[in-house]
Amino acid sequence: MTHILIHILLVLLMPPLLLGVIGKTKAFFAGRVGAPYLQPYYDIWKLMRKGSVFSETTTWLFRAGPIVTLSVAVTASLLIPLGNHSAPFSFAGDMILFAYLFGLARFFTVAAALDTGSSFEGMGGAREATFSCLAEPTLFFALVVLARLSGSLSLSTMLTGSITTLWPDSAPSLILLAGSLFIILLAENCRVPFDDPNTHLELTMIHEVMVLDHSGPAFGYILYGAAMKLFVLGAFFLHIAFPFKAGDPFLDWGVFIIAMLLLAVVIGIVESIMARLRMVRIPQILVASTILAAFALVLVLR
């Protein structure tokens, strides 16, 4: 019960901090002081207190977009085990639900973007749909590899139980998986080199351009939901790349939190030393990540 409470608290409170850490890392590389670590919390709080403007041409879909995105992120966060602790909810086959929850969120984000009738948001929706089609196989290959290795179809058993013991035997396939999942982590969360969350150039953005018309609390939900998605996918990635077990349940929580913060620093470093890819190159990188994951599957099937 305590652990479930800790799980829920972490999931609700920690995600914006990751954005703060990424921002601070980028500021360090740019030779700036940077915004405070807690800036994303202030931003979300500021948006929550604001009024909203809704275009008269939009329908309920436009208003549903942010709410669905956030609720989906919260639901997914209850399915993913954190660190060495099982998730509050788990059942056989929850991995499929996990993968398609994000599909549902994406459908609503794209539909809300198309609902505005703006040509930018249409472009953003087209880009998001194209790139996510290419990113989805990777996630499934990864899940199939893990299911095969662990002999389970539930995320909790799959990710918490055996990965430490699997590393010595299945290192090649796990390394391939970690590589491809890191690419997916950056792509799905619209980080550099795939998308630039800081730019305000309506023609180059992917995710940000789809939410241009949202304002106030609705935009706050979107920011919060995006941070939570980063948190959830980051936790998933850490299970494979950093399956460390302290033994003590509370120490495990500490290790998990530190590992998440380090992951944020790594993402910040990648964003600082790389330029954005040309948009026509993005599908190539995503296909490459699928191929890595496919090879991982070949290795475990042999």
Binding site: R127, P193, H200, L212, S272, R278
Partner: protein, 504 residues
């Protein structure tokens, strides 16, 4: 141009010396001259009753020649744009301002959505009572089931000047970009008519706020040419120093902004700061970061003491080291280079036809630089090498900026060490009447051309300004052909053109 009167940059000549041709010879002369390597630096009209006098100012880099000719036309004249694309915007401008129709112009639209100079003489037959809204006009359209149109601006997601851009796209692929400006038209040329007024000087400093020195130097050169004033050596040197500091500040800012557009953070943030360092050096000279009040008719508004020179030299050395570090990590970043190379290409042929100027032209391999081709002020004594690149893409435009910045730093070092003594300013006498004066300077965006025609009393009948952006916006539109729409912001930054310099 055959039979045209030739002279040099920063000179004035009596109006009686300007050959007055019949309109056929005049237009054919422009076509022949541009075919033979002359450039159309300015083409403008002065409406007088039912007729309009057109003046063409052409420039030829060999021998630093400028040529001028004039003609008189009535209601219309045959458009030369199909044969001489450089004239495209000039002809549209003449139609808008003077109400004279360039017949068979391929794309006759307003330039700035302003009222004609003479009431009721409107090329499009708009009534005086009708409001003229910028951007409300026909746009080029590509038809087809999967073709879509993207309209950007005039209100943008970022804080930039207002401009309207229309893309005809097939998915992410851009077939055509049309740019429509005029949102910042302030009537600077009309305001200068009957002048110089006391406020004209200050208006010239704000033709394009980031080119204060470049435009104001051209204006002061016009006044000096009309009054026959010689600027003391120290004044010329200080003006040169200010012009190069302006170039450095803007080139540095541009390099940072180009890096920022591909999300390459280190160069973006460092260059942002170093740009401020260069602006502060200008502030050290005159108290204004943009050089307001520095260039004044007859010299400069401020002297420069020994301490200021020493301080500037030490700041320049430091800024050079900082800038070198910040820019070199950009060149070493493979991911940035892959974004810059082969993006937004303009062929030398296109650049020549459109008459591009400044870094945008030099990036296409055209060695065009007013400081070199039509030297003025300090550049008559001390030359700056012209830098060119070959590819005509974003990388070339960024590279030209960096190489030019280095040359400017060398020039500043040299000029500050040998700064002449003596006065920095002389009195400007009254302006001579019935004369034409032309002054060209190389602002950081390229060729700035100011031309003034005075009446008997020495007052401006017409003051014509051509900002480099006027030549270059069409280059940006061409750079986007067959590009990805997501690369537009990057291409736009690599040109970094002025909206208000175009809108006047």
């Amino acid at each position: 141009m055959k039979n045209a009167k030739t002279f040099h940059n920063g000179a004035s000549l009596p109006l009686a010396d300007i050959p007055r041709m019949d309109s056929h010879d005049f237009l054919q002369g422009i076509i022949d001259a541009t075919d033979n390597g002359w450039r159309l630096s300015s083409l403008f009209g002065i409406p007088e009753g039912n007729e309009t006098t057109l003046y063409a100012i052409l420039s030829y880099k060999v021998g630093g020649l400028l040529g001028v000719a004039s003609t008189t036309v009535g209601e219309a004249f045959p458009s030369i744009t199909p044969l001489c694309p450089q004239a495209h915007l000039f002809e549209r401008e003449i139609a808008e301002e003077c109400g004279v129709l360039p017949q068979d112009h391929p794309w006759l639209k307003p330039v700035r959505f302003q009222r004609p100079f003479v009431k009721g003489k409107d090329a499009w037959g708009r009534k005086d009572a009708e409001g003229i809204l910028p951007g409300v006009t026909d746009f080029f359209r590509v038809e087809g089931e999967e073709v879509h149109e993207v309209a950007v601006g005039p209100v943008h997601a970022g804080v930039i000047e207002p401009g309207h851009f229309r893309f005809q796209c097939h998915g992410e692929h851009v077939f055509h970009l049309e740019i429509s400006l005029g949102y910042q038209h302030r009537g600077i040329e009309a305001g200068a008519a009957g002048g110089p007024h006391p406020k004209t000087l200050f208006q010239m400093e704000t033709v394009a706020g980031d080119t204060t020195i470049g435009h104001n130097q051209a204006y002061c050169m016009v006044l000096e040419a009309l009054s026959g004033t010689g600027v003391p050596a120290k004044g010329e040197a200080l003006r040169g120093i200010a012009l190069e500091l302006e170039r450095l500040a803007n080139h540095t800012g541009d390099l940072g902004a180009i890096a920022g557009d591909v999300a390459f953070l280190p160069t973006a943030s460092y260059c942002g700061r170093i740009r401020g360092d260069f602006l502060n050096m200008t502030a050290l000279l005159c108290g204004s970061r943009f050089g307001r009040g520095l260039v004044r008719p007859g010299g400069t508004g401020f002297d420069c003491t020994r301490q200021q020179v020493d301080e500037l030299l030490s700041r320049i050395a430091k800024a050079r080291a900082d800038l070198t570090g910040a820019v070199e990590i950009l060149w070493e970043s493979a991911s940035s280079m892959s974004r810059f190379e082969n993006t937004g290409k303009v062929s030398p042929e296109t650049a020549r036809q459109l008459g591009l100027v400044g870094p945008a032209a030099r990036a296409c391999g055209l060695a065009r630089d007013v400081r070199h081709d039509h030297p003025f002020g300090i550049y008559r004594m001390s030359q700056i090498p012209v830098v060119t690149a070959q590819a005509g893409d974003v990388h070339s435009r960024a590279l030209v900026r960096w190489l030019e910045a280095q040359k400017s730093l060398d020039f500043l070092d040299e000029q500050l060490r040998q700064l002449p003594g003596g006065p920095h300013r002389t009195e400007v006498r009254s302006l001579a009447g019935e004369r034409l004066a032309v002054a060209m300077t190389e602002g950081w965006r390229g060729e700035i051309c100011h031309a003034a025609i005075t009446d008997q009393a020495g007052r401006f009948v017409r003051y014509k300004i051509v900002d480099p952006s006027f030549h270059n916006w069409q280059g940006l539109a061409m750079a986007l052909r067959d590009e990805q729409i997501s690369d537009f912001p990057l291409c736009n930054k690599s040109f970094n053109l002025s909206y208000c310099g175009y809108d006047l």
